[in-house]
């Protein structure tokens, strides 16, 4: 059922948003060193399941993609494949300094320096790496944003896909993700259907 215009928030959208925000599933993929603070967040010590957030193994059913710290070029290729396999609405959360301006690996030849050139990022957490308490506060503010319907950064991927594709190609040389992104955009009602 293609989503209608998301700007005016019909009653159904509000209900949907409320249901979605209480059952966010986070993809269980530790891309960087920040992932060592995830087990304490997932398990009983900080227990993010109190907010309905649970680790999910497949990108097909995940809502949140955590980029936990730096992204080497090799991992970025997999992350883009995963991101395009995730069903919208999807939220990328950037952990720590490395996703903002390169972090401590600013002069490394393999890590990307600014995540928002390759994927639309919903929110960044400061820290090297962010503590479990900061992660949970981050998830809470994400939940509020989804509840209010403001967490729409994922649309940006479809709207200016050329920008993202150009940057991705700049890093890898033309990669083929076997994913027709514009078609997804049309499916999710972001881009107007092809006449």
């Amino acid at each position: 059922m293609a989503e209608k215009e998301l700007t005016q928030r019909t009653a159904w959208d509000k209900v949907l948003a409320n249901l979605r925000k209480r059952s966010l599933w986070m993809l269980h993929y530790c891309t960087g060193c920040g992932a060592v603070e995830l087990p304490p967040t997932m398990t009983s010590r900080f227990d993010m399941e109190r907010f309905g957030i649970m680790p999910m193994v497949t990108p097909r059913q995940a809502d949140i993609l955590l980029i936990t710290g730096y992204l080497s070029v090799k991992t970025l290729k997999r992350v883009i494949l995963i991101y395009e396999q995730m069903v919208a609405p999807k939220y990328v959360v950037g952990f720590g300094s490395c996703t903002i301006n390169g972090g401590m690996y600013w002069n490394s030849y393999t890590t990307i320096k600014a995540l928002d050139r390759y994927l639309p990022v919903e929110m960044y957490l400061a820290g090297c790496m962010p503590r479990p308490e900061a992660i949970i506060s981050g998830f809470n503010s994400l939940i509020d944003k989804i509840g209010k319907g403001e967490a729409n950064s994922w649309k940006d991927y479809y709207e200016n896909y050329e920008f993202y594709k150009k940057n991705q190609d700049h890093v890898f040389g033309d990669i083929e993700t076997h994913h027709d992104v514009p078609a997804d955009g049309r499916y999710f009602g972001i881009l107007e259907a092809k006449r």
Partner: protein, 736 residues
């Protein structure tokens, strides 16, 4: 391990005993858990305590700290308007910046949560309140037992009181190699000293060169702005050490003694290798310098390098001015003076001694023979207190006596002497006479009295302490009333207590308490209450010169209202040695602008320096494009194009923008890089290989100068890359 089958299946259910307990989940965010006392959280910086020295930016391994000019923070001695801005898209919270902070103004709080979709909020300018302006307790802060800086100076050996009691041998022994390198290792190259030094000497560069044991490079850096390093290494008033950032919490770097150490190791014969500016052939225009003091000699040095014919007139038998005739030998040995002066003269400066302009040779005669005249006559006229009895024969002026000691003339030295005055000159004459007394009578009976109380005496503290060790009695805070003369012989000086020296408007108006009288016994009185200029030297033009208060009115290049007349040294600014050197240097530039009719070419900001580098790189590319296809030059064109790309990227790069506007802490001039334009005209024809080698050496010197200009890793990294390229290129063609 015998594990019975049934047990191992049932035992997991023992975990059920925890059902009744409360879960150990920390109920974040409802229940806020504070971080540990030492937690390395977000930064806080005490903006007032911070002096903007940039050492935190220097140590940061992620280049996360950029120094930005903050409104309302003014530059000053030991202070800059720059404050650290921290980029939390780079920071790894390692707290090296907190541990290396020279003033302990930077510390960390226990706050750790910052969430935002907008990355711009991750670039903060920390102040006392913190990132979210919530009062979080202090976390990781500097620890005085463990800090990276060496706050203690390397002690300098000096002659003990007995050894130096009756001798004029130099007191300070100077650093050994290990001591000098250890002292040099303490410097964090923050550049505050350069800004505070009147002559803006390249102090971080030459200290770094001493640390790297490359003494010729150290000498080269000194000669860029000071042709009298030997002298300054001994008697400079070292304003740099008062500005030193290490001095905030510890003892400043002994910059003066390091300068002396470096110059002591360089023999006079090698001084010519230290010149970085190329010596231009002598042109037709001539300049007369009146007075061979530090100011006159500095002006002469820079003018002769610019190709002017310079003649120096000096009334004393030898050049040196106050350096030789006003400074006792135990502070400044004459060999040090001669080493510097002989080198300057060797560059082609003509010295005429024994001629007093204004007496033997009137100023207008000089004006006719020379295009420009620089007056550097200094403060030789001693002022008198004019209390009753000062006309007695046994009342002397300190400056005259000091000159006589240098010339070796005889003069009476009484068993008891009283010196009036509290400045360095008073200390010099008092300690010199104390030595003569010890030699003649075997004991020192000398009293020094001055208006100022002990704490506001203008003399250096070491001078007063060393003087007391040598047996001199100090009576500060006393006003001279009258010299008591009984049947033709001076028996003492009557003084009254001086209540105040300056009135409310800080004008010199001393008030005395007449009924508190003390008499100090002495058969000889020396007056050292300050020196004044002798304006009769300007004889025919004195009337037509505009005056500013008691001094001649000059512009920033010390050009007086008469365009052909420049006035430098103590009579215009000071009185001290390094200011004399600075005025001489500035006046030389003023003369060059006036005679050479050239526009001013000071460089004030880093992007203007980069403009020169850009022009140089463009010439490189142009020359190589014209050069013949030689095997040695294969691939050079591509490299030069990338270098050009690097410099263009810096100029247009938004990231480096903030640093490009940084004020230079030292005086750079386009003239210093005039040789780069000459390179563009070297023919690219058959001599191409040699031409590339010459240009490579020029490039190396250009980027060596620029490397110390900034704290930004972006600029530093680019300058370092370019410098290494030109060093290897020059080595490849063996012309270093």
């Amino acid at each position: 391990m015998a594990i019975d089958k049934i047990g191992s299946i049932l035992r997991p259910f023992t975990a059920l005993k925890h059902i009744a307990e409360k879960p150990d989940t920390i109920d974040v965010p409802r229940h806020y858990r504070p971080a540990a006392e030492r937690y390395r959280g977000f930064h806080v910086n005490d903006m007032e305590k911070c002096i903007g020295c940039g050492t935190c930016a220097e140590i940061c391994d992620n280049d996360a700290i950029r120094m930005v000019p903050v409104k309302g923070k003014e530059a000053g001695v030991g202070k800059t308007p720059y404050r650290p801005a921290i980029d939390y898209g780079r920071c790894c919270w390692c707290a090296l910046c907190v541990d290396v902070c020279t003033t302990n103004s930077l510390s960390m709080t226990r706050e750790y949560t910052h969430i935002s979709p907008d990355t711009n909020t991750f670039f903060i300018l920390p102040d006392e309140k913190g990132i979210h302006e919530k009062e979080f307790p202090t976390g990781w802060h500097a620890d005085d037992t463990i800090n990276f800086l060496d706050l203690k100076r390397v002690p300098m050996e000096a002659l003990s009181a007995e050894e130096r009691g009756d001798s004029f041998i130099e007191i300070i022994k100077g650093f050994s190699k290990e001591q000098a390198r250890k002292e040099a290792s303490r410097c964090v190259s923050c550049g505050l000293c350069t800004a505070a030094c009147p002559a803006h000497m390249n102090i971080p560069e030459y200290i770094d060169a001493i640390w790297n044991d490359d003494l010729t490079e150290s000498g080269r850096q000194m000669y860029k702005t000071n042709p009298l390093p030997d002298v300054c290494g001994r008697i400079c008033t070292h304003a740099c050490e008062t500005a030193c950032s290490i001095g905030v919490r510890g003892e400043p770097i002994s910059i003066r003694w390091l300068k002396r150490y470096a110059m002591d190791q360089i023999p006079a014969s090698q001084l010519d290798t230290l010149l970085t500016q190329n010596v231009v052939k002598q042109g037709s225009q001539s300049v007369a310098v009146v007075g061979a003091g530090p100011a006159g000699l500095a002006a002469a040095y820079y003018l002769v390098l610019m190709g002017y014919r310079v003649t120096v007139f000096e009334k004393h038998p030898k050049a040196g001015g106050m350096m030789r005739y006003g400074m006792p030998e135990y502070r400044l040995p004459y060999e040090a003076i001669d080493k510097d002066i002989d080198f300057i003269l060797s560059l082609g400066v003509e010295l005429k001694t024994g001629i007093t302009v204004g007496k033997d040779l009137p100023l207008d005669a000089v004006q006719k023979d020379f295009d420009v005249v620089i007056m550097a006559t200094g403060f030789h006229g001693g002022r008198s207190t004019r209390v009753p009895g000062t006309d007695h024969t046994m009342v002397f002026q300190a400056v005259d006596l000091l000159a006589r000691i240098t010339k070796g003339d005889k003069f009476p030295v009484e068993k008891e002497i009283v010196v009036i005055g509290g400045g360095n000159v008073a200390m010099d004459i008092a300690r010199s006479l104390a030595r003569l007394q010890k030699k003649q009578y075997g004991e020192v009976r000398l009293t020094v009295t001055c208006l100022e109380t002990r704490d506001i005496m203008p003399a250096d503290d070491e001078e007063i302490e060393e003087g007391t060790e040598e047996g001199i009695v100090f009576k500060p805070g006393r006003g001279p009333e009258e010299i008591i003369i009984e049947d033709g012989v001076i028996t003492g000086l009557k003084t009254s207590r001086c209540v105040r020296v300056f009135n409310d408007q800080k004008m010199f108006a001393p008030e005395f308490d007449k009924n508190d009288i003390e008499v100090y016994k002495g058969a000889q009185i020396i007056e050292a209450i300050g020196q004044g200029p002798e304006f009769d030297v300007f004889a025919p033009f004195t009337a037509s010169l505009e005056m500013a208060g008691r001094r001649i009115k000059v512009d920033e290049y010390f050009q007086s209202s008469q365009p052909w007349l420049f006035v430098v040294g103590d009579i215009i600014k000071g009185p001290n040695l390094i200011t004399g050197v600075e005025t001489g240097h500035q006046a030389a530039l003023g003369v060059d602008y006036y005679l050479g009719k050239r526009a001013r070419d000071e460089i004030t900001r880093i992007d203007e320096m980069l403009g020169i580098a850009l022009a140089f790189q463009k010439d490189q590319v142009a020359q190589l494009e014209k050069a013949p296809r030689l095997p040695e030059l294969a691939g050079l064109l591509a490299i030069e194009k990338t270098n050009l790309g690097i410099v263009e990227a810096l100029l247009s790069g938004r990231n480096t923008r903030i640093h490009l506007r940084q004020e230079l802490s030292r005086v750079m001039r386009r003239r210093d890089y005039a040789y780069l334009e000459a390179l563009a005209r070297i023919p690219a024809g058959p001599g191409a290989v040699e031409a590339v080698a010459v240009r490579a050496k020029a490039g190396f010197h250009l980027y060596t100068d620029m490397l110390f200009l900034t704290k930004s890793k972006e600029l530093e990294f680019a300058m370092d890359t370019l410098r290494d390229h030109y060093r290897s290129l020059a080595e490849r063609f063996q012309t270093m």
